[in-house]
Amino acid sequence: MKKLKSPGELAALQAEIRAGRDPKKPCITICAGTGCLAYGTQKIIECFRQEIDKQHLQDRVQLRTSGCHGFCERGPMVVIHPQKIFYQRIKAEDVPDIISKTVLAGEIIDRLSYVDPATKQKIVYEHDVPFYKRQTRYVLGMNGDIDPACIDDYLAIGGYSGLSKALSGMKPEAVIEEVKKANLRGRGGGGFPTGWKWESTRKAAGEPKYIICNADEGDPGAYMDRSLLEGNPHLVLEGMLIGAYAIGSSQGYIYVRNEYPLAVHNITLAIEKAREVGLLGENILGSGFSFDIKINRGGGAFVCGESSALFASIEGRSGEPRAKYVHATDQGLYNKPTNLNNVETWGNVPLIINRGADWYASIGTANSTGTKIFSLVGKINNTGLVEVPMGITLREIVYDIGGGIPNGRKFKAVQTGGPSGGCIPEQFLDMPVDFDELAKIGSMMGSGGMIVMDDRTCMVDVANYFLKFLEEESCGKCTPCREGVLQMRLILDRICEGQGKEEDINTLEWMGQAIIDGSLCALGGSAPNPVLTTIKYFRDEYEAHIKHKKCPAGVCKALITYSVDAEKCTGCHACARVCPTQAATGEKKKTHVVDLGKCIKCGACFEACKFDAIKIL
């Protein structure tokens, strides 16, 4: 491919690609994000290739492997264009049918269509699926139209037009002004205004200036950054290019988790392609602006999502944060002015430049504009990635999009903001979700993980889970975080063991406050949040553990016992077969028993019983 030398050449290339494509030609788009690949999608892709070859359809049918579509619950899935017929949970055996019936004859295969559990209606088209219908998918929605390995796909939908617009008609200051006017706030957690950060970095003394894309998505339960980087890497690159031009940077970095091999692969490929066509490198589109990007893989340390720890890691040192008397925008990476934004933030930038700040600011709420991608996971029917305008209520996300709680169980809480966030109880379901509202009730937006919990989730156990996580991930540099989190965890361990004392809740509260006040970085400063919010909203559960030695959710092993419901037990012996300690025993076809002396409470019998006969007390 020859290098593009001007915005005009880019526009010509885009037009040429579009002209070479027949919009009526059937295209089978198959989701090949990490989630769907884990379901065994690779085999299905192979089957499609073989079937297309077998029927000699190479010229008539296109097969596109795309990034994550978002509806992970229903993978493996395909969308057949141009009609956008949606098939879910497909298997390799379904492939010949899909090609001969749907692609060639336009017939709908009922068994592969999605059935709305609420209305029992069969849904044929992707845009009619309630999960998608209620979303506003400006950023993530492109994933379905793009093969991440194919830069032409991105160019065909107008990719890099935002960059071209910035380079050809806008001064760097004007780009910053546009981003400020759009009121874009950082999607990584802090919600700091992006335009202000860019401006500070631009104005800071010192050369070179660096820009970094933070793809160290460490919050457990959040995977939107992975899906964007995997599914639409050129969007992130375009955002970074625009940012680099505005800030006056010629060197960028992408710091990405090593646990995301596919994201690393796709972004590496995208960078090579962009260099090939002259969208990265020297004198981009003939503008005189030069910029290139290096990729750094993380080493599996949560703290490296913190800006100064991330810089240390890129510099080849251990990821310890430092005190921030001086802002990163003045002295960041290698002590040079550095602008750090997260993947999703960069992904929003081309939209703002293409469609204008006024359009962008009209989405969402006054102080939280645009859309936000959440990963809706845990005890929820429709697990997946959800992009919604800021200000939507939690109830709409959990019930209208998420389809509610599985198995008819009762909603208890949503955990947002990862280990730095909090648990939000039912009473706030109608609260609008944006940066400020979440902060008001003691949680935070974080990177957008939303873990739904039902009545079988123990809030004390969840708080303990996060403390264990943070205890392990604390870099150990400052005492309040290193020792404080440990001490809080020991208290919670005791409570979960049934050894809690009356004064424990009080101790946790003041200790939590001390850690918040005394820690060096945001990891320590927010570490007590999961404990403090669960105490605030679920104090009764703590009291049940401490005073009555009971775990109402039936989770904390020391406080529960397994027993057999004689009326429900059919004597099928399934429990006895899986019991690792021979505690569950009985003759076949007779009521079984659990010997509490031998029982190690592993839960194997509970899981194995098909008749609900194992009770947790």
């Binding site: 690949l37 995977y223 080493g299």
Partner: protein, 158 residues
């Protein structure tokens, strides 16, 4: 070994800033980070061994001891946690006789827990030798262990 390490370092243009990815590649090549390899990296990159050791022990991805033939990485992200991953962790510990982060003495298995694999729809999820296994139950875990040649409790009874 020296040639391999030299090749890896050259790939990164001997840039000291790429110490973490360099060590990752060395580990991928050698299965773990033996002392000799760390000394070599230190000499070639002209970084003091103490700093290499600091980095190699700070990041979870690195192992200074040999790892097993099979690597089991169980996700303990929040979504997997609320869907019962801790029970599976206990089960695997008992079946393999090792704790998370350890390697079985016969060097067959390394069992580790990881924070989030970003495949939450499949929770609880475990990656076994690079292959994802989703919606895990104790029964499915037993099948995986059996495939890898390890006896599980119900086998003994049968």
């Amino acid at each position: 070994m020296q040639a391999k390490i030299q090749a890896i370092i050259s790939r990164y243009g001997s840039d000291k800033g790429f110490l973490v990815p360099i060590l990752q590649d060395v580990q991928r090549e050698l299965n773990y980070l033996p002392e000799d390899a760390l000394v070599m990296v230190s000499t070639l990159l002209e970084i003091p061994l103490s700093r290499i050791f600091e980095v190699a022990t700070f990041y979870k991805a690195f192992s200074l001891t040999p790892r097993g033939k099979h690597l089991l990485s169980l996700c303990l992200g929040t979504a997997c946690h609320v869907r019962g991953a801790p029970l599976l962790s206990g089960h695997i510990e008992r079946a393999l006789g090792i704790r998370p982060g350890e390697t079985s003495p016969d060097l067959e298995f390394t069992f580790e827990t990881v924070n989030c694999l970003g495949a939450c729809a499949l929770g609880p999820v475990m990656v076994v030798d690079g292959e994802y296994h989703g919606q895990l139950t104790i029964a499915k875990t037993n099948a995986i262990l059996r495939d890898l040649g390890r006896k599980v409790p119900s086998d003994e009874e049968a």
